[in-house]
């Protein structure tokens, strides 16, 4: 399944946050690779640094030290503008609370990432329609987020994450706010994206049922990675 090729290489990553004049170490000496086409579940107790690690990989935060190579580029060295552009081209985001823009329709929300590409309105519409058909919400495209259920909103968010055809999708607790049925729908959809479209997915979750949909797991505890033995801890 996985083309045995590294897409992400993380090397001795350190990250701490400052609270007042106190420095809280959050990630310590994290090193691992992610293969192209992988579906990785990042697990661990609350506060262990899962989101922080995911944010670093997605390029919305910078580490204190260490490097993250994505397809050969060390994204920790990119400046703000370049990194923004890099994200828009390479990363799709799925959030726990969907994070759709309330004043935009489903269609417009999905269209957002395309506005940063050089596409005609017609091309954008094609892309959005395709993404909508994948998540099965074509008939809801003119609805505003508040007119949709949680599960539907998350599927719109997934359509937004894939509309630019990024190679990596990051998802932080994507089912954390959903009922069991909607959660299953979302997870099935993510599996499909991984298997059918070959997307590399990194999903933070502390729900073991959700993690079961992934192909591999990594376990974080107090900012330290416990390699390849996640099941032992659960």
């Amino acid at each position: 399944m996985a083309k045995l090729e590294k897409i992400i290489e993380i090397e001795s990553l350190y990250k701490s946050f400052r609270k007042g004049n106190q420095i809280i170490p959050v990630l310590q000496n994290i090193s691992f690779d992610i293969m192209d086409g992988e579906f990785l579940a990042l697990m661990g107790p609350s506060g262990s640094g899962k989101s922080t690690l995911l944010n670093l990989i997605a390029g919305i935060d910078k580490p204190d030290s260490g490097s993250i190579f994505v397809q050969g580029i060390d994204i920790t060295n990119l400046d703000e503008r370049t990194l923004s552009r890099w994200r828009s081209e390479h990363v799709g985001f799925i959030f726990q609370f969907y994070n759709l823009i309330p004043v935009l329709t489903a269609f417009e929300n999905i269209e957002l990432p395309l506005l940063m590409m050089n596409l005609s309105a017609k091309d954008r519409k094609e892309h959005v329609d395709f993404a909508l058909s994948i998540v099965g919400l074509y008939d809801r495209k003119d609805h505003y987020p508040k007119q949709l259920s949680g599960g539907q909103q998350q599927r719109v968010a997934i359509a937004r994450a894939i509309v630019t055809d990024p190679s990596i999708i990051v998802a932080d607790e994507p089912t954390g706010d959903l009922d069991k049925k909607s959660a299953e729908d979302v997870l099935n959809l993510m599996s499909e994206l991984n298997q059918k479209f070959g997307k590399t997915i990194i999903m933070v979750t502390h729900d073991l049922r959700a993690a079961k949909y992934a192909k591999s797991m990594k376990y974080l505890d107090k900012g330290v990675l416990i390699n390849g033995s996640a099941e032992i801890f659960i």
């Binding site: 890099w86 309330p102 990432p113």
Partner: protein, 388 residues
């Protein structure tokens, strides 16, 4: 980008009440701002109309206005025989040597003194002013203490009617006629025989010499000749230009006063906009973080929030101008001014004023929106996205 505009607009519509309140604040400021400009424009228009297009005014060099001017008899004699001056149908030159003095008169219903212009006139003064006509009574008999008064003077001052006496310049003057000056400043003047006025106020000089040109094309030559004549120290202006210059001083005063007042008001409106935009930024923190994560640049976020503030102030501008456009139906009839007391004029809306109001409101929008927009765009993405 169209979607940014749509995004900003929909956010404004979503919080209707706040938007309405904030825009109303701005509308009030624009109302005051445009009203001040409309007032000064109305004044300017009225004053310019006081002049006739082919009349020329000669005053002392750098005197600025008739009130400060003084032209002695010798100079006046040279000027009044200029060949460019037009003749009336009986072959007489259409020229008048006039004197302007200011006196205090008590206004009806108050005990306050208002400044009133007394103009010493000659036979040709009336024909030179096509807008002015005698409405009641008769014309002054030359060489007497008779006076005629403008209709505004008769309306607004105690004891000014035909047959009554006014006392100034150590004499008693009898009102024999009332004239109507249309919309001009003459309505607020009292006219007397110039030679009588000179005597009673012990003025050796005239204030101005007014005449009609037989051909407007002669103006530049005439101006050049008179201003460079070594015997003369005068300034030659077209009458309309003269009144335009007169109004400039006054309208500038109104503008400076009014605009400084508006700027003080606008601080309130700007603070209102700032508070509104700050709370918008705080409420949409996670939304901003999301947009940044998706790859939108800081400047785009800045632009979106600035756009929202600008739309807000634009709405305020439209509202303010809408309200002030009703002022056009309102005529101001009392305005105490040093030389032009008791002028009647109305608020006048012009495209220039609309543009100025627009610029002013957009400046308010930028000032009110910039700091919140900067705050929105400079947040760290991870901080903006955090939910705990």
């Amino acid at each position: 980008m169209k979607l940014i505009l749509l995004y900003s607009l929909r956010n404004l519509i979503r919080r209707k009440l706040t938007t309405l309140l904030t825009a109303s604040g701005m509308a009030l400021v624009i109302l005051v701002f445009s009203a001040v400009l409309m007032l000064s424009e109305g004044l300017r228009k009225t004053l310019i109309k006081t002049g006739s297009p082919d009349n020329v005014v000669v005053i002392r060099k750098s005197a600025g206005s008739e009130v400060q001017s003084g032209i002695d008899k010798e100079q006046a004699n040279i000027i009044e025989i200029s060949p460019e001056i037009s003749l009336n149908d009986r072959g007489k030159r259409l020229v008048a040597k006039e004197l302007v003095v200011l006196i205090g008169l008590t206004k009806k219903g108050t005990d306050k003194l208002s400044n009133v212009v007394i103009r010493g006139v000659m036979e040709m003064s009336l024909p030179l002013r096509s807008q002015v006509r005698l409405k009641e009574g008769k014309m002054i008999r030359w060489g007497t203490n008779e006076i005629i008064v403008g209709s505004k003077i008769a309306e607004n001052f105690d004891g000014v009617k035909i047959g009554s006496f006014l006392s100034f310049g150590q004499r008693q003057w009898q009102v024999v006629g009332i004239f109507d000056g249309g919309t001009t400043g003459f309505n607020s003047e009292i006219w007397a025989d110039v030679e009588q006025l000179k005597q009673s106020f012990r003025r050796p000089t005239y204030s101005s010499i007014i005449f009609k040109l037989s051909d407007l094309k002669d103006f530049e030559n005439l101006k050049m000749r008179l201003e460079n004549d070594p015997r003369l120290t005068v300034e030659v202006k077209k009458e309309m230009q003269y009144y335009e210059d007169q109004s400039a001083m006054m309208t500038r005063f109104i503008k400076v006063l009014g605009v400084s007042m508006t700027i003080v008001f606008s601080i309130g409106a700007i603070l209102g906009a700032m508070i509104t935009m700050y709370s918008a930024v705080a409420q949409r923190k996670r939304e901003i973080g999301t947009l940044r994560a998706l790859g939108f640049q800081k400047v785009t976020i800045l632009a979106a929030f600035l756009m929202e503030s600008l739309l807000l102030s634009f709405a305020g501008c439209i509202g303010g101008l809408f309200l002030s456009s009703f002022l056009q139906f309102y005529t101001i009839s009392t305005m105490n001014w040093q030389t032009f007391s008791e002028l009647a004029f109305s608020f006048t809306l012009t495209p220039k004023i609309i543009l100025q109001s627009l610029i002013f409101s957009l400046i308010m929008g930028v000032i009110g929106g910039l700091i919140p927009a900067l705050k929105a765009s400079s947040q760290k993405i991870v901080d903006a996205l955090r939910t705990d």
